[in-house]
Symmetry: C2
Subunit: 458 residues, 2 copies
Amino acid sequence: MKREIIHALEKIVGKAQLATSDEECACYSFDGTGRSFIPDAVAFPDSPGQVSAILKLANRHRFPVIPRGAGSGMTGGSLPVRGGLVLALARMNRIIEIDAANMIAVVEPGVITGELQAELAAHRLMYPPDPASLKFCTLGGNAAECAGGPSAVKYGVTRDYVIGLEVVLPTGEIMKTGVRTEKGVVGYDLTRLFIGSEGTLGVFTRLILRLLSLPEAGETYLLTFSSLRSATGLVSTLLRSGLTPCTLEYMDATAIGVVRDRISLPLPDGTQALLLLEFDGSRAEVTRQRQRLEKILHGHDLTCRRAGNALEKAELWQARRSISPATFDIRPDKISEDVVVPRSKIPELVEFTSALGRRYNLTILTFGHAGDGNIHVNIMLDRRDSQELDRGLAAKKELFQRVIGLGGTLSGEHGIGITKSAFLPLEIDPVALELMQRIKKLFDPANILNPGKIFPAT
Amino acid sequence: MKREIIHALEKIVGKAQLATSDEECACYSFDGTGRSFIPDAVAFPDSPGQVSAILKLANRHRFPVIPRGAGSGMTGGSLPVRGGLVLALARMNRIIEIDAANMIAVVEPGVITGELQAELAAHRLMYPPDPASLKFCTLGGNAAECAGGPSAVKYGVTRDYVIGLEVVLPTGEIMKTGVRTEKGVVGYDLTRLFIGSEGTLGVFTRLILRLLSLPEAGETYLLTFSSLRSATGLVSTLLRSGLTPCTLEYMDATAIGVVRDRISLPLPDGTQALLLLEFDGSRAEVTRQRQRLEKILHGHDLTCRRAGNALEKAELWQARRSISPATFDIRPDKISEDVVVPRSKIPELVEFTSALGRRYNLTILTFGHAGDGNIHVNIMLDRRDSQELDRGLAAKKELFQRVIGLGGTLSGEHGIGITKSAFLPLEIDPVALELMQRIKKLFDPANILNPGKIFPAT
């Protein structure tokens, strides 16, 4: 990056808020994919005005600008794949307003999701989206990727809660979208065009969030099954019977095998699958759901444990929470995909991935959000073994083809970033793909904002 | 419209499916606004291919094409304001698929909303959006306007249920957007960019809808108040106390006065406001809501009636249902606006409209969806009296300014169309407005699809 640009950036954000050393730049070269691309510099702006000035500068000098929250993304959305300037939004982390009467919060993009949730709980309010990374991920990043989480099965994803934005366009203009009311249909829905656009259409500098009342009660269940089919079959039955779980997580036998030694809870021998189930709502509603659940489970071949207190709840969650780190006991690397299929197709998908693993001689484990069909498929491998890597990549391609064949989608909550961009044409038809690229060009004619993401290289 | 074009259109849809006579064209000149613009012709296509061929023809010959569902829109979205061809989608009215296991329906745009709902009820499924016109409005029109209804307070609006589309672009290309799964974040969210775009960005030829389980029980209450403040104040209290009504409708004293003679139910003398309240869900949940409601209402100065059966329910709804036609007892015309304010601002808005009526010597009545702040303000007048009309238009302008000042929005569910386009800059900032117009131009370079809508005339 030229001296002249560095000086101009220092002028905008202040010398102390611009990092250019190799050590500092290395810290902003990673994300949840484990891949690394070193930026030329990292800026820490603290206002929309500074973000705007940076983007105008980038347009003049044609350098890439890559917005970044906590860097916890799973598909490379915040990686500076072409170098340039990382725009670290961590300093813009104020909760500006909690309007309890209207159940609205206004926040800056760097607010950590879990911290907002804790703050809201004190007002007996809730912001539902709960990605696994909620203790460190940011609301700006959540909005850019349209993050989900276990609660999505009942409450939906980020797009269902962000109702307005302040955005700096790639060309530097600052604008507002959306409303701070429950309803609003004035002009095109730019808010939702920005949500999930993976930092390619604008930089969010303020978010208006709708909130819900905090439920008064909740219950957690762990079910274990001696056959995979009975677990996946139960998912549809539960949801079709009018139960509304706020968590319905699933793990297959391989996943269970991996965590078995890490958890305090003894699981029955021969456990082939596990469901983690939660209800929330009023006390009366939770009781009713429990009664209905017991009726449905009666006669099924499974074990059912209910958490009696917070400690037991944590114990039941332990298996699900340990799975991601535990996978590395198998192999040092993984290809992790968050595909979605219609719920009724989960058994087919899971059987397909087992066969796929056998065929490619790879350990493939599946777990995730069974309630909405969003299954995390982990293909375990060692990237240093080029043959194994090739087999993994071939398996990933077959997985994606199968998912599309089952009426599914390549990503439920992680986005496309760089890890799936080559596969976008599998799902998106050519007319829509071209239209998306024309929208990108309309917003960002110089292609300076987060270039090289989402779209396949041409 | 030139002979040559008429012939080409006849070739596309067949002679029997093209109307050009004055009588037939007159039938397609109206909508819910009561205004009339005669089209040059009306085509009744029955496939995406026909729609595509028509749009390509329109691009060649530069004539306007105006998509139309049932013509029940409230802001002129389906009016052929510049003549041209009305694209009547009523024939594309098949329910293509109801996938009960995955709670998804696939429909054509001409399906009547209420007919789908009746069909779904047989499967114990629900498509929640319930505009007042649900007995005749179409799902395509609902999607184009992002329609709401009383149930929005609990269930949200059309955008929350349309997860995928088949769209014919203004330039004639046919494309697919979205998913048929609960989650999906692949590429830009074109689906929601189309929803609420009022027929200006594309013609929907197929919609994928997510469904819910039909609730097993419901209860209806009518509350009457001797003061307006106590009614509007109660709305926030109810919602903050964790109650989740699926209807929370409100009527002011003027509205009550208008319907009093049309309903069988005797209302207490001095009734200044009325709330219609419904809960649904499991039996246990409805009971709990009733108990909590009774606790909250205890000691309040109001009367409360609960419907014991379907007949009594219809009786309680009678007041709310009669209001729109009954308003014409006051004056022959009205300016009807569906503004939204943050719920806590409803008392201020309602007091403002009373004062506004006195100041302009006009009867203004308010009713609507108090639960989400979406208040229907009806300014009654006689359009033949030009002075009265001028006063009405001046009152409308002041109303909009006040709504924006209260943090609200110009439309919650009716859209902008032609009746509010001049006021769009009150709400949408200039950068966003320009961006929307550039998006329109990107999709529709020849400006042939529903021209003259949403954006202020330049």
